[in-house]
Symmetry: C2
Subunit: 250 residues, 2 copies
DNA sequence: CATCGTTTTTGATCTGCATCAATGCGGTTG
DNA sequence: CAACCGCATTGATGCAGATCAAAAACGATG
C-alpha cells in the first residue's frame, strides 16, 4: 500500500499563523479576504498541562496551533481517557458548524494558538471556496491519520505501539530538525509517559517498560529529559509492524 | 458532553442514489449540475464477502452505498486486520484527489454501490460549492465517528465493546425499522462474528463469548440467524461505558 | 434426508498487559 | 543543602482476553 499522504508533502510549506496552513493555497485567496482574516484573528497562550476547553463547553472560535502541542481527548465517566487527536504546529482545531467542543483540548506543552471567532470564519468560508477546499483536504488527512491510529489501538502490541509513536513524532518533527549524515535522527519527544499512554491505549507503566526495553536494545537513545536519538530509523521502523515500504519516510 | 452529531439528523433524509446523501442540499444545486451527475454515474453490485478494491489498488471512482454494507479495513503484513470504516446505505466511499485506495473495501453483505468516475466528479466539485461543503460536513462526521471508535478500541472492555457495537448498529438501523411500543427494538445485525471482531479489535471467540453472556443476562435476544431484539435499549446502553445522556438516542 | 462446508459456540490453557506498590531521579524552593 | 514535588522506573502479582482445540448449529447441495 502506497500512502502518499498530502499531510507530509504540505508540511514543509506550513505557515504557522495562517488558518489554513498551506501558504500556496492562501496566496490564491483574494487579498481582501486575507485582510478580513487578519482582522478577526487573535492569539492565545497556554502553559503545559492547562486545558484549553473541556468537552461539552462552548467553543466560539476555531484555531490553529502556532507553537507547541495540543491534544484532543475523550474521557469516560470513570476517568478512563483516550487521546484522539495530537495537534502540532499548523494543525487546525475546531469544527465549523458546531458550537461546543466534543473533546477536551489540552496543552501538552507550552502552547500558542491563533484563534478566529467562529461566526466570521464561517461567513468567510461561504464565499471563499479555497478555504473550504483546504479544510476538506486537511480533514481527509486527519481521517486517514485517525484510521492508522485505529489499527494501532486495535491490533498492535505494546512494543509496536511505542515504536510507532516514536516514528510518528520523528517524522512529523523531523522536517524542522537536522538529520545527521549517517541516518541518525535527533529530536524532541515532548510528551510525558502519561500522555504517551493516553495516545496508545496503554498504562504509563507499560509505556515506561517498553521504552526501557527499546533503549536497552539500542533502538533508541535518550539524552537528558526529553531528547531522543534514533540511531537507525529503518531498524526502529521494523518494530512498528507497519508495511516496510510505508510509502514515504520522513 | 452533548454530541449532537449531524449524522443522525441528516440520516432520515437520505437519498440512497445521491452522491451526497442529503436531498435538501442536492436540491439547491443547479439542475444542470445534477444532470451532469446523472450522466457520469453507474451502478455496481457485489456479493457478500467480495472485495471491491484492495488497499493500494487503483480506484478511479468515488461512490456511495445504495443497499447493503461495505467495510474499510487495514491489514498488517502478518494478517492482523482492523476495520476502520463501516459504510451503511448513503455513506460515501473514496477520496477525491487520491487515485489509489488506502484500504481494503469489502462487501460485508450483498452490496449495491452508486459510482461516479472520479475525474468528472472532481471537476464538478470545483464549480459546485455545495458539493464540497456537503462532503466536508460528511467527512467531519466520519472523523467524529472515528474518534468515538478510537475510544472504544483503546479503553473499553470486551463487554463494553460488544454492547457499544450492538447499540451503534441499532441506532443506525433503527430509523428504517419499527420500534415496538414497549421500547423493544428489533433489527438485523448483518455482520459475522469475524467482522464484528475486526470492528472491535477482538478475536471472534471473545465476541462469541460476550454475545452469549449478554444473551444469558437477557440484555439481548437473538432470533434465528442474524435478527436481534433489544428488550430494553437503555439497559444495554448502560453496558457500553458511554455517557448515559449520550446526547441523542435513536 | 444425508453430506459437507461454513459459522458459531464452548472449553482448557497461556500470556501480555494492568494493577498495586515501592523506589529513584532531577529540578525547584525555602 | 535539605526538603519536596512531579515524573519515571522497576518489581510482584493478577486477570482479561488470546490462543489452541473440539464440538455443535446451520444452511446449502445433491
Amino acid at each position: 500500500m502506497t500512502r502518499t499522504s498530502s499531510r507530509t508533502q504540505v508540511h514543509s510549506q506550513d505557515c504557522g499563523d495562517c488558518p489554513i496552513r498551506h501558504r500556496a493555497v492562501c496566496a490564491r485567496c483574494e487579498s481582501d479576504e486575507l485582510d478580513r482574516l487578519e482582522q478577526i484573528k487573535y492569539y492565545r497562550s497556554f502553559e503545559a498541562g492547562q486545558t484549553v476547553v473541556w468537552a461539552g463547553d462552548r467553543m466560539d472560535f476555531v484555531a490553529s496551533v502556532v507553537t507547541g502541542i495540543a491534544t484532543l481527548s475523550q474521557t469516560m465517566e470513570d476517568g478512563r481517557r483516550q487521546m484522539v487527536g495530537l495537534l502540532l504546529p499548523s494543525d487546525f482545531v475546531g469544527r465549523p458548524g458546531r458550537d461546543t467542543s466534543a473533546y477536551d483540548v489540552t496543552a501538552a506543552t507550552d502552547l500558542v494558538m491563533c484563534c478566529f471567532r467562529k461566526k466570521p470564519f464561517e461567513d468567510m468560508m461561504l464565499n471563499t471556496p479555497h478555504l473550504g477546499q483546504r479544510l476538506l483536504e486537511m480533514t481527509l488527512d486527519e481521517l486517514d491519520a485517525a484510521r492508522e491510529w485505529m489499527l494501532l489501538l486495535g491490533r498492535k502490541t505494546a512494543r509496536e505501539k511505542i515504536a510507532s509513536l516514536v516514528c510518528i513524532i520523528a517524522r512529523r518533527d523531523a522536517s524542522l530538525q537536522l538529520r545527521a549524515s549517517d541516518g541518525e535522527l535527533r529530536f524532541d519527544l515532548p510528551l510525558t509517559r502519561e500522555a504517551m499512554s493516553e495516545y496508545l491505549g496503554l498504562t504509563l507503566e507499560t509505556v515506561s517498560r517498553q521504552m526501557s526495553a527499546l533503549r536497552k536494545e539500542g533502538l533508541i537513545v535518550t539524552e537528558g529529559k526529553r531528547q531522543i536519538v534514533i540511531p537507525d530509523f529503518d531498524r526502529l521502523l521494523e518494530e512498528t509492524g507497519d508495511d516496510s515500504d510505508g510509502g514515504f519516510l520522513i
